[in-house]
């Protein structure tokens, strides 16, 4: 995955904390002695921020005695997955952070493994996707965008901060498909980072931008862009004016999740311990501080729910990618 140096991701990077590994407060509710976080990318990326932020909250809240963090880049994340599987027996103390791309990359075969080869611990946070236009654009809703597209399909380019076949493109294709258009006919322009895609939107090079909701919300509140559709089930408090896709008659919902995985064959008692620590984390002020600092949305799926969620996402994305011709 190309790390989108997008604003929220980078805020996550901001959470690349120095550990803040304050000694356990030992106030009686410690659930796990220590967790070693394995980060499949380099220091400073989005995964890095998620792992370090979570570790910081867990240790500061006293749920975990100590946390350590190990970056292991290579193969776009595949190297760390392989490492965890090959050394499964000695990695019972390790949690690996990952996100939506593990589903995408397993489908395209970039990774030889998929999420079923790992022990699913929990999905912890996420971000919705959003369709955005510039403030001076005549487009004000998804139906305006569709009308503009029908009038001039080649002149209505939709940009995004991911490769064709990546998240931003898939969301754009989902929206078009749900509106009865041919998703393969959409002119999708890929940019290598969310910030650059946003600049392209403001320059008028593209008509609309498919991007992460959290990345768009600050610019929308500043009046620079208009959010014309969010892929959440219900309106999101951070931008209460922004309509969901569902409200506008589309079936499109999408969550870009982040969560934690453990080595295959992890004993059930250990797994339950990790899941317990993460569940308890949500109620602590320490987590709330980390979450707010990074602008994350709590989307908690533990164990079996996580598996169901991932299987559903894999199926939806897999079907769409087949239709687009990627598989």
């Amino acid at each position: 995955m190309t790390f989108n140096l997008t604003r929220r991701v980078m805020v996550a990077a901001a959470a690349a904390t120095l550990g803040f590994g304050a000694p356990a407060l030992a106030d009686g509710h410690k659930v796990v002695d220590s967790i070693h976080f394995l980060i499949p990318g380099g220091a400073g990326g989005g995964w890095d921020g998620t792992a370090r932020g979570t570790g910081e909250a867990l240790t500061n809240a006293g749920l975990v005695g100590s946390a350590s963090f190990e970056n292991m880049s290579g193969g776009g994340g595949g190297k760390a997955i392989g490492y965890l599987i090959e050394n499964a027996d000695s990695q019972h103390g390790t949690l690996m952070v990952n996100s939506t791309p593990i589903v995408l990359r397993s489908l395209t075969g970039v990774f030889p493994h998929n999420f079923r080869d790992l022990t699913l611990v929990a999905g912890t946070i996420g971000d919705y996707a959003a369709m955005v236009v510039g403030k001076d654009s005549p487009i004000n809703s998804m139906s305006d965008l569709l009308a503009a597209y029908k009038a001039d399909p080649r002149g209505t380019a939709i940009g995004g901060g991911s490769v064709p076949g990546g998240m931003d493109h898939l969301v754009a294709a989902m929206v078009m498909k749900s509106a009865g258009e041919d998703p393969t006919a959409v002119k999708y322009i890929p940019y290598d980072a969310g910030g650059k895609a946003m600049a392209a939107l403001l320059s008028g090079e593209i008509a609309a931008l498919s991007t992460g909701f959290s990345e768009a919300v600050d610019l929308a509140n500043a009046g620079e862009v208009k959010i014309i559709g969010v892929t959440a089930d219900e309106r999101v408090a951070a931008a209460a004016d922004a309509m969901t896709m569902k409200e506008q008659g589309s079936v499109t919902t999408f969550v870009n999740w982040r969560g934690f995985f453990a080595a295959p064959g992890l004993p059930a008692d250990k797994l339950a311990m990790y899941q317990d620590a993460i569940s308890k984390m949500y109620d602590t002020p320490e987590w709330e501080e980390v979450r707010a600092r990074n602008g994350w949305v709590n989307i908690h799926n533990s164990g079996g729910d996580f598996a169901t969620f991932l299987e559903e996402q894999e199926e939806v994305i897999g079907d769409l990618m087949k239709e687009l011709g990627f598989l």
Binding site: V9, A14, A43, G165, T184, K187, G195, D218
Partner: protein, 670 residues
């Protein structure tokens, strides 16, 4: 057949294999809807393969008259037997062993072993000095990286268990928990930034990412921003040091600095080179800050007029910098190296397609060649190997009397003043563009100054010209300041570093954007003031340090060489923990050394590599948006930039011809 022609033949074979992959293996799997795009993932590679084969043919057939004989002081591969090949091979083997042992044996043990054995291979026998020095260095680096920065580096062998890395680093967190005045913030930030910036592998982006929690814990947005800005400038100020002293550029924006900075250092003028860099940086930063203060709102609206088409044209202008390395008899070689760099840029995942290209099944190539790995392999490693091979090597360092001399002559001052002025403005403007940034600014600055310089002045570029050093340094500093324009006025991060800063701003409850200057003017001014202060403080901090930093080169060779090798390895390893990258580094370094034997210039390869993906992406986007090449004619700004690129390449030869004509005219007149 001479070595350079054999090498061209090998490169031709590589291009043929690459071309085969591009022409016959890539298009079948392309989804039908992408086949409607004018540019396919295979298009650029196909063009490169054809160009590569043709260019290497020119060299293989000896069409271009090569430069005559090896230069004095350079290594002549025909006399390879005289050189210390055994030592070089042993050191390379040691690097491979280090890469393989780094994970299982832990950082401390491997590093001490590497430094001690490396020096012993070179003939050092003073173990009572060597061992403590190596232990101190290994411990120091480990402490800095793991304990201070909190980046995992396994210190002890795996079997010693996990206790070792349960140590948690939060020294900085504690030391800055108490409130400090803003001035102390700047000084602290500058110092931290400078020192970490001197380490390769940690550019401004990672340093800032690491410092952000500290800054946020301060609470006051102005003070936090001032600290971060200080770290940022410090990192930029410290960056060129390794480029100049040992030609190991840690970040892409200091690559151009090494083109003339390193030759100056080799001539024993390290002190002067560092001073010129410091002054150019200072001027670039300060002029940038003034421009930012006055023009920020206006420039922001101009910056977003730039479309992908213009960015493509800008990359073409940037590529014209390679002309500086195409001396007589070198045009074909410089071109071939550029093409090779562009080819390497296509390896791995790009913005155009969701599958990696040309990874040959190697998982570590999936994200492409790492910039630092390539920069170290192309520049620092061959330099270090040259030092090893030198049969006349003595153990004493390069300690001429001039090395610590900071003075710049009046003529030099006169020469660099206009360069700094021009490049500060040009660099700033390029920095304002969200898709360009400091790296592009430094190459453009170098290219423009080299190509408008006249006669002997131009000849000096690449051989130790103070102008060639001042141009990229003032440009990249001004560009860093310029990148604050879209960040503060639009809320758009144009670079990785400003993206992280944006994250920090949001975390501090500051929303950058058009309303920032009205709603929270104190934030805007805090940044501007910290820029002035930061630059002044950096100059004051750095000038007195220069003699000591320059003295690094006076360290005995037996110590210096293993340390340089260690430095290159660390750059590729810190924060990644991927040992395969180190093996790649050694392999590429050997290839680069052979290329240097045959007089191939390596800078064009790195320039091609850095600009390659931006060139391809922006071109592909423009072609897709305009459904063809029409954008060149439809967009006057694109056309204008392309014309400038052509002029920049042609200008030098035109100047030379005119000078020659004039000289002949004078002769006739006599």
């Amino acid at each position: 057949m001479a070595l350079d022609r054999w090498i061209a033949l090998i490169i031709m074979l590589i291009c043929l294999a690459y071309g085969y992959a591009a022409f016959f293996t890539m298009d079948a799997g392309l989804p039908p809807f992408m086949q409607r795009n004018p540019i396919w993932p295979s298009t650029f590679p196909k063009v490169l393969a054809v160009m590569g084969v043709l260019t290497s043919l020119i060299i293989v057939l000896g069409i271009e008259k090569g430069s005559t004989g090896p230069k004095a002081g350079d290594i002549d591969y025909r006399r390879l037997g005289d050189y210390k090949i055994g030592q070089a091979a042993l050191l390379l083997g040691l690097m491979v062993a280090y890469a393989l042992l780094l994970r299982p044996a832990g950082f401390l043990l491997s590093t001490v072993g590497f430094l001690v054995i490396g020096a012993m291979v070179l003939g050092e026998r003073k173990l009572h000095i060597l061992v403590p020095v190596a232990a101190l260095a290994a411990g120091g680096v480990w402490y800095l990286v793991q304990e201070v920065l909190g980046i995992f580096l396994r210190p002890f062998p795996i079997y010693l268990g996990k206790e070792a890395h349960m140590l948690e680093g939060n020294m900085l967190g504690h030391s800055t928990a108490f409130s400090l005045t803003n001035l102390l913030m700047v000084i602290g930030g500058c110092l931290i930034g400078t020192f970490i910036g001197m380490l390769p592998g940690l550019g401004p982006m990672s340093i800032i990412a690491i410092m952000i929690p500290v800054a946020i814990s301060i609470g006051d947005p102005s003070a936090a921003l001032i600290l971060l800005a200080g770290v940022y400038y410090g990192a930029i100020f410290g960056g060129p040091t390794s480029s100049i002293l040992i030609t190991a550029p840690g970040v892409a924006s200091t690559v151009a600095t090494s083109f003339d900075g390193y030759p100056l250092a080799r001539q024993g003028k390290a002190g002067k080179a560092l001073t010129v860099a410091a002054i150019a940086s200072f001027a670039g930063g300060t002029i940038g800050a003034i421009l930012l203060m006055i023009f920020a709102p206006v420039l922001a609206s101009v910056a977003i007029l730039f479309h992908s088409a213009e960015y493509f044209a800008l990359m073409v202008v940037g590529l014209s910098a390679i002309a500086a390395f195409a001396g007589s008899g070198q045009v074909g070689k410089a071109l071939l190296m550029t093409i090779l760099g562009l080819i390497m840029a296509t390896v791995g995942e790009g913005a155009l397609f969701n599958l990696p290209r040309f990874t040959m099944g190697v998982m570590d190539l999936q994200s492409g060649f790492g910039f630092i790995t390539l920069a170290m392999a192309m520049f620092a490693l061959p330099e270090a190997l040259y030092l090893v091979l030198d049969p006349n090597r003595s153990n004493t360092g390069n300690a001429g009397s001039e090395i610590k001399d900071l003075r710049i002559t009046r003529d030099e001052a006169k020469a660099i003043t206009p360069v700094i002025g021009r490049q500060s403005v040009q660099g700033f403007l390029i920095g304002v563009l969200p898709g360009a940034g400091a790296t592009i600014a430094s190459f453009l600055g170098y290219a423009v100054e080299r190509n408008i310089a006249k006669g002997a002045d131009q000849e000096q570029f690449g051989k130790g010209s103070v102008k060639g050093l001042a141009a990229p340094e003032s440009a990249n500093n001004a560009a860093c300041t310029g990148s604050f324009v879209p960040l503060l006025t639009l809320g758009i991060p144009g670079s990785g570093t400003t993206a992280i800063l944006l994250g920090a701003l949001i975390a501090l409850n500051v929303s950058p954007g058009p309303r920032l200057m009205e709603d929270q003017p104190e934030i805007f001014w805090a940044v501007i003031i910290s820029m002035y202060l930061g630059n002044v403080i950096l100059l004051i901090l750095n000038l007195p340090l220069i003699p000591y930093i320059a003295k690094v080169l006076a360290v005995p060779r037996n110590f210096l060489i293993p340390f340089i090798l260690f430095f290159t390895l660390m750059g590729a390893y810190i924060g990644q923990n991927n040992a395969t990258e180190l093996l790649l580094l050694v392999g590429l370094g050997i290839a680069a050394t052979v290329l240097r034997f045959a007089d191939y210039p390596l800078a064009p390869l790195l320039i091609g590599f850095i600009l390659g993906s931006m060139l391809e992406d922006n071109f592909a986007r423009s072609m897709q948006l305009y459904d063809g090449i029409g954008f060149v004619l439809e967009r006057p700004m694109t056309m204008g930039l392309l014309v400038i690129a052509v002029l920049l390449v042609l200008l030098p030869s035109f100047n030379a011809r005119r000078a020659k004509a004039r000289a002949e005219g004078v002769a006739d007149g006599d």
